[in-house]
Symmetry: C2
Subunit: 131 residues, 2 copies
């Protein structure tokens, strides 16, 4: 029986559907930021690192490899010394990145509403929390 007929993303939970996996790559902590950053223009590895801020080499490498494997990011390694590698979005990646950007822009737009909600929540908690 279908647990969720309206939503193919929600599986009955036997084995993780590949569908969810892609979504997790795209929405992953660093995946989101990489996609948005590349939407602007191609970046070199170190440019990405600087632009994103607090990401370790390890995590950035891992994220880029995952996105490359999924066909969202194109990796162009020039055979020069010192090495130069440029990362850019593929057509598929651009589509994904635009969706992600939509989400990020929404977040920016509604940030203040979220802040307010949080303060209300915390205040309410503090109230009912005390005797």
């Amino acid at each position: 029986m279908a647990v969720s007929a309206v939503n193919p993303l929600i599986s009955s939970g036997e084995t993780m559907c590949p569908h969810r996996l892609v979504l997790e790559h795209v929405t992953s902590r660093w995946g989101v930021l990489v996609l948005i950053q590349l939407l602007d223009r191609p970046h070199r590895f170190s440019e990405l690192r600087r632009a994103i801020g607090r990401v370790s080499e390890k995590m950035l490498t891992q994220t880029l490899q995952t996105l490359e494997r999924d066909g969202l990011v194109h990796r162009d390694a020039k055979p020069v010394i010192p090495p130069r590698v440029d990362y850019s979005l593929t057509g598929l990646g651009r589509e994904a990145a635009e969706q992600v950007r939509g989400l990020a822009e929404w977040t920016a737009r509604r940030m203040s509403a979220v802040q307010e909600a949080r303060e209300g929540y915390d205040a309410r908690k503090a109230d009912t929390g005390q005797r």
Copy 2:
């Protein structure tokens, strides 16, 4: 100096901007699924648990509390025995959920392209990997 003039989401990396935090809540593993599920209709705790599939009580509780605090989800606890708690989207939450749904639908649409890309990537790896 601004590290990224075009993108407010990308900070220079001093201290995590609240902006990024909201985005992480919304794009979190279970946050995504909860928002999409609630877009359909309000759900009780156990309904959500069943619908989403493989989520522990702990993670679902944690996710719901975070989303409630951010003002995206409304929690309605009825004072009955046995307890009954309904979760639904707020106006703010519905906006977020629609963005997330966009992303999820894109994923579903383009899944086969991603699959192909992966196979190509793996095949290429296997090739260059061997001597």
